[in-house]
Symmetry: C2
Subunit: 318 residues, 2 copies
Amino acid sequence: MDQAKGPRKGRAIGKTNDVNADLIAVVVAVNDAGPCVLTIEQGAALPSGPFELAHRSLQSSLRAWVELQTGQPLGYIEQLYTFADRDRTGGNERVISISYLALTREEDAGASGRPSWTSWYDYFPWEDHRSGRPPMLEELWPRLIEWAQGADDGATRFDRRRRAAVAFAMDDRAWNEELALQRYELLYEAALVEEAKRGGDSAILAPVPGRSMSADHRRILATAIARLRSKIKYRPVVFELMPPLFTLLQLQRTVEALSGRLINKPNFRRLIGQQELVEKTGTTTAETGGRPAQLYRFHHAILDERPVAGTKLPLARA
Amino acid sequence: MDQAKGPRKGRAIGKTNDVNADLIAVVVAVNDAGPCVLTIEQGAALPSGPFELAHRSLQSSLRAWVELQTGQPLGYIEQLYTFADRDRTGGNERVISISYLALTREEDAGASGRPSWTSWYDYFPWEDHRSGRPPMLEELWPRLIEWAQGADDGATRFDRRRRAAVAFAMDDRAWNEELALQRYELLYEAALVEEAKRGGDSAILAPVPGRSMSADHRRILATAIARLRSKIKYRPVVFELMPPLFTLLQLQRTVEALSGRLINKPNFRRLIGQQELVEKTGTTTAETGGRPAQLYRFHHAILDERPVAGTKLPLARA
DNA sequence: CCAGTTATAGTCAACGCGATTATAAGGCCT
DNA sequence: AGGCCTTATAATCGCGTTGACTATAACTGG
């Protein structure tokens, strides 16, 4: 209080540190085709826009322009990460990018024009283990090993080899779906994704399967996937992606779509049931093929009641 | 790619959206006095500084000026949150604040002058449950209930009452140490902390015990505490706060200081042991009072080996 | 009516973890 | 020196969670 000229007091310095602030949104929905993300430019970029100073907060600014631009009402919104790396965009412009994860229900897609939904797994085909381990992993492993061997010193070789093994479940390790970001960053480091060659690193090996995106949008998407896969295990955010009424199997399929792996059905039902997160509506639907299924709705009253340690899903160990 | 004039393309708009970017650091260490945070202005504020455009990234910028200013080498650094609420600082200036959590070891405190260490629990006395439930909670409960009753409609009354009960362990609920942020925000909403009256809300009841800070620094500190209390349960970050050699009880005391609650000793040792996070040095220390204790060191090799689902601590349910 | 599909309930065993007890090894006070 | 205090370290018990599996019910379509 009394020491007005302390060593550093925020904007007490006259030097201009003005920067530009961008908001980048990863808007997620799940439909029959799987988990989708809202994209622009035919799937080559995530929707982004400048932070409007007129808005109260960053979140309200994001919500406003995404809803305006896409007609999508956003449910849950969560901040992901703030980047300001110098050479992020390739240019010499200084931009701070604040990325967000948003969940919605994909009603009236493409109604207001340009944006479209693209499956996660178009960008990260190695992340979908719902039909067993993707065959492409077996082609990926030797390339990662080769990259590890290419290091200068033995310690780095060992470290690369270990990180690759952990992230990509080599040597009979268990697949960990939450490592989506580490996996993408490892592929980037190994110059196995198309984005890596933009940094001037022209050791352009044939990139691994999977669509690339402009700038670092694919990395942001990987961040969102990892965050969401982690979050659904302890917070009831899945319901933001569900229609008002749903069957338990539909709920399970949604969780499976997000996590990229299959869940044991009886255990899933038990866990959902004993947490009292859903309530029966009494009505049933015959549209599911076999025996008509109960329709459930989300039990809103419980939402804040279990602030933590709720909504566990049987996704623990393999 | 081909649609150059899509609905919105980032900084394609000519309007100026320049803002000022500040970095705010919550630097944490643990000593005999408990968990401490690095502060300036006699504990009234967190160290903060402008984002230097000269640096590669936000993290390196933060690390540079904190180490320069305080002489503290920072170990682990993690981004907390980015704020840009209009009336955060009270002024009409537009500032984006990017807050960080950093862990260090508190060597040579105050060597380079101004900054000093202050205990967490000076700011949040209700968060320390290491000696049982703080008596002040019992004085707090009726004030929260009173606040809940003061709502206009019944639904809000019920909601306030429920949130207060969950956050502050009313009605024989279990104390959840991870709700530190929710608790502070609830007290702010109830105008029971000194910061609340700055917004013009002059219904100045006597504030709850606990030091306040300038601007929203206390909220940022609460965010850091909540994040760290959650993180130590699944990532081995505690070791960033430990000296190179330590006994298991010292490690336990550190975790207890952070989480604000006591841990069962045998269970703690079992969990630490079976995770192979530490290794014996063979040497012992007699400085602990009773039987000489083994000195351990952190098993660095294991750090990235268990990227997730490691370092569990017996802090689950009460 | 039978085969196929899905819904729903129940069982069993392994593991994790909280709680407790027991034993070892040093310091300090009388 | 001996007894008491402190802390360190090891071992055990029991409950609850949860992963894997089996069985039964209800409906559709041929």
